[in-house]
């Protein structure tokens, strides 16, 4: 039996990209292995849930928990791993704020099931089979974990010690976070966001920013943007201004607008609200001397009418963890 402190990585409602990001530490993963006993990770190792249940409480030094809480199993694992871990880290956008799976909070759970198992034209399901928690088959009852009404974030269901944002977190930032947790000076204060900075992606983006106002927005396919000017100022919905720094500005670097995967910047709880605030301030309303209310409204409508889906765009990664959390009457 290894005497090294144990670490774990678990996936709930997620895509597996977070595990890839960890493996992308490349040879540094050997340093992790030298310092820790990598004990549990369903994506990479063969340890079972029962092995975790058998551990004394607090036996896992650190657990990286990625994925949102969508099923009863996700919830059970979140609670189990909380009990067994000294440090529980919400790892990646899904665990922190729901990410893409969190967009399902715009739709009632029942309609999701209907769409997936019945209503899509490509579906052939004559027996109307759905993943019900209990199904009777010849050999006896079969169960799958129940699908919950909404997707919740890890911190909405249990206590979380640290947060590492990103979809997925950048590998060098994961390393930074591990280094911070094992620093001789002691770990950072509980609740800290690790592997990122407090400000926005704009501080990492090398494009030239002026005070240019915008009179209409474009979808990505509509224009080929200049490679040196701020993408937002060119009318693309770049979320850098409402997104936490930490990625190094990777997307704007290759001429793609930021879509917001690092979540809201420090001290802010709602990315969509941040983006709305920012857009309200940069509209080009032309000459406003003597403008009346209806003319003002018409110009605003013209500029903002080119944004087809504000909620889906501004909360692409953060809906479940946002102030509204999802649709109120799904």
């Amino acid at each position: 039996m290894s005497t090294k402190p144990k670490i774990a990585m678990y996936w709930a409602a997620s895509c597996g990209g977070c595990e890839i990001a960890l493996v992308n530490l490349h040879e540094k993963i050997l340093d992790v292995d030298a310092a820790f006993d990598f004990y549990f990770c369903p994506c990479l190792l063969d340890t079972k849930t029962n092995d975790i249940k058998a551990l004394p409480d607090g036996e896992l030094a650190i657990t990286f928990f990625n994925g949102g809480i969508r099923t009863e199993e996700n919830l059970e694992m979140a609670r189990l791993l909380r009990k067994k871990s000294q440090i529980l880290i919400a790892f990646g956008s899904c665990a922190i704020e729901g990410c893409i799976p969190g967009l399902a909070n715009l739709t009632a759970a029942k309609s999701l099931i209907d769409t997936i198992y019945h209503d899509n034209i490509t579906i052939d399901n004559p027996e109307q089979i759905t993943p019900d928690p209990q199904t009777q088959v010849a050999e006896g009852p079969l169960g799958v974990p129940a699908f919950r009404d909404t997707l919740q974030t890890l911190a909405q269901v249990t206590e979380v010690d640290y947060f590492i944002p990103g979809c997925p977190p950048e590998s060098h930032q994961i390393w930074q976070a591990i280094a911070a947790l094992t620093a001789p000076a002691g770990p950072p204060p509980i609740g800290s966001v690790l592997g990122s900075g407090p400000s926005t992606v704009c501080v990492e983006c090398r494009r030239e920013k002026t005070d240019k106002k915008i009179n209409r927005f474009f979808r990505n396919y509509e224009i080929i943007p200049s490679e040196t000017e701020c993408l937002l100022e060119q009318g693309l919905l770049c979320l850098g201004i409402a997104t936490r720094q930490g990625c190094g500005g990777l997307c704007p670097e290759v001429n793609m607008p930021c879509t917001g995967c690092y979540g809201p910047p420090a001290g802010r709880s709602d990315q969509g609200a941040r983006m709305t605030a920012a857009l309200g301030s940069i509209l080009d309303l032309g000459d406003t001397k003597g403008i009346n209310e209806s003319e003002l409204l018409a110009r605003i409508e013209q500029a903002l009418g080119t944004i087809p889906d504000p909620v889906g765009t501004f909360y692409k990664y953060s809906l479940a963890g946002s102030i509204p959390g999802g649709r109120q009457d799904p």
Binding site: L106, T288, K289, I291, I300, P310, I323, P324
Partner: protein
């Protein structure tokens, strides 16, 4: 029971025009519905979209932003910024299942006490006509 009168309507009033307008109404002994709760802000541009979403999350039946008329903002462009945010937020709350009529923006000057009362009454009236807030 009148559901709308049970629920708070939050009014964000800019200090320089709309709040003075409400004050004007008060000075001339006009009354307005008791569930309209006023928060004075320096400028409508100070009303963060977070404030509005938070008000709805906490169960407000409606949110009203009152600003200086175009051209009159004490800080020049605060009301234009507020108008842009308001427009986007209306779209967003309806995507989020909150009736867009629950969010109102009006321009009230310091001398428009009457208009202030009118807007508040009108808002209460409109909210009575839509189903109770989904939250709270």
């Amino acid at each position: 029971m009148n559901r709308t009168l049970d629920h708070t309507i939050v009014g964000f009033l800019c200090n320089w025009c709309s709040y003075a307008g409400a004050d004007h109404a008060g000075g001339s002994q006009k009354s307005y519905p008791h569930n309209f709760k006023i928060i004075r802000v320096m400028c409508s541009g100070r009303v963060e979209p977070e404030f509005i979403l938070e008000a709805f999350r906490k169960g407000a039946a409606g949110v009203v932003i009152m600003a200086c008329h175009p051209g009159d903002c004490h800080y020049k462009t605060g009301n234009y910024q507020a108008a842009g945010r308001y427009h986007l937020l209306q779209k967003m709350i309806s995507q989020l299942g909150i009736d867009e009529n629950r969010l109102v923006m009006e321009y009230i000057s310091a001398s428009e006490g009457e208009r202030f009362i009118e807007v508040v009454n009108q808002t209460v009236h409109t909210l009575e006509g839509i189903p109770p807030p989904p939250l709270s």
